[in-house]
C-alpha cells in the first residue's frame, strides 16, 4: 500500500513540477471560463452547468491524451522504468499508481470549476442534482479517457505517438459509434451505440444517474488499466 501511495503521489506531483500540469490547467480553465461567461452567466439563461459540462467533455478529448501521454512512455524513454521494475512492487502497483496519480490530477483540474456553481448560487437558484451528476459523469469520462491514454503510453517510449494514438482512438470510437453505427444498420448498430461514451454522458448532464452507465465507465476503465498492466508485464518476457 505504501508503494502504491508513493507512486500515486509522485505521479500527481510530477504534473506540477513540470510545466505540463500548469499549462493544461490554465488552458482548460481559460477556455471553460470564456465559454461560461459567454453562454451561461448571462441574463435569461437557465441556471445550469450543462454548457460547461459539454465544453469540458470536448476539452477532455485533448486534455486526457496530454496528461496521460507521459505516464509510462517517459519512464521507458529515460530508463527510469528499470529502477522502478527492480524495486519490490508489482506491475499492478506501478500501473495503478500512475493511473490514480493522473486521475487525481484531473480532480485537481476540475476543483476550481466548483466556483461556477458558487457563482450560479449567488446570481440564481440552481438545481444541484444535475450539477452533481454532471460532475460525476465528467469524472467517469475523464477516468475512461486517461485509462485509454495510459494503455497507449505503455506501448511506446515516444510521447507524441502516445498522444496521437490516444486521440486517434477517441476519433475512431466517435466515428464507429455514430457514422459507423448508421452505416452497418441493425442489428449491429445497437451494439455500437452501446459502446458510445458520448451518448451515455449526456444523461449525466441532464441529472440522470443510470447505474448501467456508471458500470460501463468503470468496467471500460478497468479493462484499459488491466491491458496496460499486461503490456508492461510483457516487457519482462521479451
Amino acid at each position: 500500500m505504501t508503494a502504491l501511495l508513493s507512486i500515486t503521489r509522485r505521479e500527481w506531483a510530477a504534473y506540477f513540477r513540470t510545466s505540463i500540469g500548469w499549462v493544461v490547467i490554465a488552458l482548460y480553465l481559460l477556455l471553460c471560463g470564456i465559454w461560461m461567461s459567454a453562454s451561461t452567466i448571462r441574463p435569461g439563461e437557465p441556471a445550469t452547468l450543462r454548457i460547461f459540462f459539454t465544453m469540458s467533455q470536448a476539452l477532455l478529448l485533448m486534455v486526457a491524451p496530454a496528461i496521460s501521454m507521459k505516464l509510462v512512455s517517459e519512464e521507458l524513454r529515460t530508463g527510469t522504468i528499470e529502477p522502478l521494475m527492480t524495486s519490490p512492487v508489482s506491475d499492478w502497483h506501478i500501473i495503478a499508481g500512475k493511473y490514480f496519480g493522473a486521475v487525481c490530477f484531473l480532480l485537481t483540474m476540475f476543483a476550481p470549476t466548483v466556483l461556477y456553481a458558487v457563482l450560479l448560487e449567488i446570481i440564481a437558484e440552481p438545481d444541484y442534482g444535475p450539477i452533481l451528476s454532471g460532475y460525476l459523469g465528467l469524472f467517469l469520462l475523464g477516468m475512461l479517457y486517461v485509462s485509454v491514454g495510459l494503455l497507449m503510453s505503455a506501448f511506446t517510449e515516444n510521447q507524441i505517438v502516445s498522444f496521437l494514438g490516444t486521440l486517434f482512438f477517441f476519433l475512431l470510437l466517435w466515428f464507429m459509434t455514430t457514422q459507423g453505427a448508421q452505416y452497418v444498420g441493425p442489428p449491429l448498430d445497437e451494439r455500437l451505440y452501446a459502446l458510445s461514451p458520448y451518448t451515455r454522458i449526456d444523461d449525466f448532464a441532464k441529472g440522470v444517474i443510470d447505474t448501467g452507465h456508471v458500470v460501463f465507465f468503470l468496467a471500460a476503465s478497468t479493462w484499459f488499466v488491466v491491458a496496460a498492466v499486461v503490456v508492461l508485464e510483457s516487457r519482462r518476457w521479451r
Partner: protein
C-alpha cells in the same frame, strides 16, 4: 548469495547469454568485465528479475529470481547504467519516494533517507532538483537510491561512465566504502577501477564467462604474470634466443626489433619459478652479448583482459568457419 546455473538468454535468433554459471558468496565484491554486447547487462537483468532466463536457473539468497521475484528485488539495490533519475524531483523527495517503494514509511523512512544521503555525501544538495546536479552528484543520488533500504546485495552497472577524472575518483572511493559490509557486483569497462575495488573478477565475452578468479591469480595463471625485458647486442641473435629459451625459469620469448644493432626480447618467466634475471644475465655473458637493459615487468589486468577477449573472438571465428 547469488547463484547462476547454466543461465542462457536468447532474443529471437540472437544468443545474448550462452550458459553462464557462477556463484558469488556473501560479502564478496565481484567485478563483471567485458566488451559491449558481451552479455553483462543481460545477465544483471536476469539476476534482478527484470528478464527471465531462456534456460538455466538464477537465485539470490536461495530465492528464484522469477518465481520469487519480489522477494529477490527487496534484497537488491540496483544502480542501472547512466543512473536514470527523475530530473524534476528534489534529491530528498526522490529518496523518500524510493524508500516508499520498499514499503518504508514514517520515521524509519526519514532516518533511512538521512543515512543514505550521509553515506553518499549528498546531504548538501538535498533540496536541489536532481536535473540541476552535476553528473557526479547524480551518480551519487542513484547510489543513495540503491542503498536507501539497506540492501544485502548491491549491483552497480557502469557507475563511473561519463564522469570526469575527479568524479571517477570520488565515486570509486564511495564504492570502496560501500563494499565493506555487503555482496557487491560491479559491472565496468574501467579495469583499474575493478582491480582496486574487487576481490574477484569475471570476464564476459560472446555471452560466456571467459575467466573467473582473483585478479592477481588470473594474471599469474595465464603465464603473463611476470616478464623480463632484455635489451642486448649480439653477433648471433638466434643462438642467444635459443639459450634463453632453454632456461628452466623461462617459459617463452618474443624477439622484437630494436634500435640499430640492439635487439629487444620479452621473456616470460615460468609460473612458480624464481626470478629468471640472473640466469638470463649468465646466458648473455656465455653468448658474448652486451646487455643494455634487463628488468622485470609485471603484466597488467588490461593485457590479460585483451588476451582473453581476443582468444574468445578467435574461438568464435574458428567455430563459425
Amino acid at each position: 548469495m547469488i547463484e547462476l546455473q547454466e543461465v542462457a538468454k536468447n532474443f529471437g535468433a540472437v544468443q545474448a547469454v550462452r550458459g553462464v554459471s557462477f556463484t558469488i558468496g556473501t560479502g564478496q565484491v565481484v567485478g563483471l568485465l567485458g566488451p559491449n554486447g558481451a552479455g553483462k547487462t543481460t545477465t544483471i537483468r536476469m539476476i534482478t528479475g527484470t528478464l527471465p532466463p531462456s534456460r538455466g536457473r538464477a537465485t539470490v539468497d536461495g530465492l528464484h529470481t522469477i518465481d520469487q521475484s519480489r522477494r529477490v528485488r527487496s534484497l537488491l539495490g540496483y544502480l542501472p547504467e547512466n543512473a536514470p533519475l527523475y530530473g524534476e524531483m528534489r534529491v530528498e523527495s526522490y529518496l523518500v519516494y524510493r524508500a516508499g517503494l520498499f514499503g518504508m514509511s514514517g520515521r524509519s523512512r526519514r532516518d533511512a533517507v538521512q543515512q543514505a544521503m550521509e553515506r553518499c555525501r549528498i546531504a548538501d544538495v538535498s533540496r536541489r532538483r536532481v536535473g540541476h546536479l552535476s553528473k557526479g552528484y547524480r551518480q551519487r543520488v542513484g547510489l543513495a537510491a540503491a542503498l536507501v533500504h539497506n540492501p544485502r546485495v548491491l549491483i552497480l552497472d557502469e557507475p563511473t561512465t561519463g564522469l570526469d577524472p575527479s568524479q571517477i575518483a570520488e565515486t570509486r572511493s564511495l564504492i570502496r566504502d560501500l563494499a565493506g559490509d555487503r555482496t557487491m557486483l560491479l559491472v565496468s569497462h574501467i579495469l583499474p577501477e575493478v582491480q582496486r575495488t574487487c576481490d574477484r573478477i569475471i570476464i564476459f565475452a560472446r555471452g560466456r564467462v571467459q575467466a573467473d578468479g582473483r585478479p592477481a591469480e588470473l594474471i599469474e595463471g595465464s603465464g603473463g604474470g611476470r616478464r623480463c625485458v632484455l635489451e642486448a647486442r649480439t653477433e648471433d641473435v638466434a643462438a642467444l634466443t635459443s639459450r634463453i629459451k632453454g632456461l628452466d625459469s623461462v617459459s617463452g620469448t618474443d624477439l622484437e626489433e630494436g634500435d640499430g644493432a640492439w635487439r629487444r626480447w620479452r621473456i616470460a618467466a615460468a609460473p612458480g619459478s624464481a626470478d629468471p634475471r640472473a640466469a638470463i644475465g649468465e646466458a648473455c655473458l656465455a653468448s658474448g652479448a652486451v646487455v643494455r637493459e634487463l628488468r622485470m615487468e609485471s603484466s597488467s589486468l588490461e593485457e590479460f583482459y585483451i588476451r582473453t577477449i581476443e582468444a574468445a573472438d578467435r574461438r568464435e571465428s574458428e567455430a563459425s568457419a
